[in-house]
Symmetry: C2
Subunit: 129 residues, 2 copies
């Protein structure tokens, strides 16, 4: 039995993985991992996800340079959600979102509308060159 | 168009919803919401999820009394993950997990093993009476 067998993978062989910033405790993003992604994350100390849109492993920061250094891996009570405590590298303050923002959760419900309430820290055109 | 149409529901009509504690910024849990759950959450100001195991709406705290008062609702860049900033009611400190712990992410990877690193704050037998 491996620690990877303690994870309850869904029908697609995936689990949601939440990246939370060490220090600020900000929730940066949520992506999915398959078994290989989680194994590589633990082995390398850098976040590796499974991109459902691209259908392949995705070493976070491979294009942007916005690598996530993993300080801790956690598993929830049901074994079907992973939490990563990460240091968001490549820019200060850290940029986890492909829109150039610190975190992906930059829209807040305001009445009947999602309003953007966080600024972009860098132009995405300059991130993905 | 409603703000609910901005959410990209998956093939089962669900989105993952992360509950984060206001103040501490602790990630308490992840559950799923369908359209009705999100609508009721926004309307009532208390977290309502969709329980996949029970196949019905689940007003968090309906049995345990551990209600989540919602301070903010956020949507991510892709529109397929919701973040709730909540106040965890019913016990001090807050108990979000059915095991009686503050949060569901109480197992930390230590070498090749998930180790429980957070204490139960209340016996589950006393929560669900």
């Amino acid at each position: 039995m491996s620690w990877l067998d303690d994870v309850k993978w869904d029908a697609q062989g995936l689990v949601p993985a939440i990246a939370q910033e060490v220090g600020s405790n900000d929730v940066l993003m949520l992506a999915f991992m398959n078994r290989e992604a989680l194994e590589r994350t633990a082995a390398s100390g850098e976040a590796v996800y499974y991109s459902r849109s691209r259908g392949r492993l995705w070493h976070k920061g491979e294009e942007s340079g916005h690598i996530q250094k993993v300080h801790e891996l956690r598993l929830d009570c049901d074994g079907d959600v992973v939490l990563l405590k990460v240091e968001q590298l490549g820019h200060t303050p850290g940029i986890a979102c492909h829109t150039g923002r610190h975190a992906c959760f930059f829209r807040r419900l305001d009445g009947e509308e999602w309003k953007t309430v966080e600024p972009a820290l860098k132009d995405p055109a300059r991130i993905y060159t």
